[in-house]
Amino acid sequence: MEYIDYYKVLGLDKNATQDDIKKAYRKLARKHHPDLNPNDKEAHKKFQQVNEANEVLSDPEKRKKYDQYGKDWQHAEQFEQARQSRQGAQHFGGEGFSGQFDEGDFSDFFASMFGDSGGFRQRQTKFRGEDYHAELQLNLTDVYKTHQQVLKVNDKNIRITIPAGVEDGQKIKVKGFGGPGINGGPNGDLYITFHIVNNTGFRRHGNDLHKNIDLDLYTAVLGGEMTVDTLDGKIKLNVKQETQNETKIRLKGKGFPVYKKDGEFGDLILTFKLKIPVNLTEKQKELFEQLSKLSS
């Protein structure tokens, strides 16, 4: 257990007036309030310290006890008993204190000085439990279809449905699966961030998929049929005659599923990359020369 300098927590000296304490508390409480710093554990802890310091220093009785015994808090109870036996049945602190704070909200130091219930005023602050954050790595093909997966979060198995079309970096909330609430507050939520690894050869742009397709010169000039891969299997494609390099074609509904819209898909956009034949035979060269003469 460590001695806590409540004056230092609030950035004050021992001569601080009640007004100084009030101002310092308000300023620091605004800065570190858990509702204004969601999911920031450090801010949450700071806020508890500031709250605790304020509870002691803003109450003249408790401040007096703290000032008197603060550094010797370990002996406070003995001092107190000795003092009470000298002064008769005079109470310190009084029975009026019936705070409802959970002892877990305050430091051991505070509990040792003021008791578990701390002698707080009647105010019970309920806080939502902490939000948990988890990261899940999936392949692009995993999120092509809606599927269920069991996650282990803080030793608890949670079965979640991962909708098709989840994006890289997307976060989903699983309500009530975070940390338990404080003072009867609701449980926090579980946030899962998806990291989608794409090693498919397709590039994803929203719901559309993009892919470059090699096109040989002869099919580009004469047209023809070719087979291309989609995430849903192979399809046959008719290539028009005289297709130019970098021509794009859009295959409607052959892209990625739209998040939470059953049966809706983006498009697949194919870009033809013309491949000029290499290592030509003498005969091929001769035919190309003939072609060249015909064209000029």
Partner: protein, 100 residues
């Protein structure tokens, strides 16, 4: 809506040590919506976390309903911006991954 999804505001005020006038001022500021069921003023249980957050901001930081409105608006705005950044990162990685 099923009545079990409703939280009576008299109970809420008693357990959180706030006056019913505070609830009225929140409703006037458009921060919460209340409904009357069997002559009792209620909020839906879905809105309860929001109401509890507002109450904490009011009690802990002494923020009035107008200030709470501004704070919740800014918090929502931050969350939207975080989502937009994630989307822009995805778009950027699309262009960065483009084949030459």
């Amino acid at each position: 809506m099923d009545n079990t999804d409703m939280v009576m505001l008299d109970d809420f005020c008693a357990s959180h040590h706030v006056e019913i006038s505070f609830i009225h001022s929140l409703e006037e500021s458009g921060l919460i919506e209340t409904v009357v069921i069997n002559e009792a003023l209620c909020v839906t249980s879905n809105d309860l976390p929001k109401l509890e957050q507002i109450t904490r901001l009011h009690q802990d930081l002494n923020i009035n309903p107008e200030g709470i409105g501004a704070v919740t608006h800014l918090l929502r705005h931050i969350e939207e911006m975080k989502q937009e950044i994630a989307q822009l990162r995805n778009r950027l990685s699309f262009y960065e991954g483009e084949e030459p």
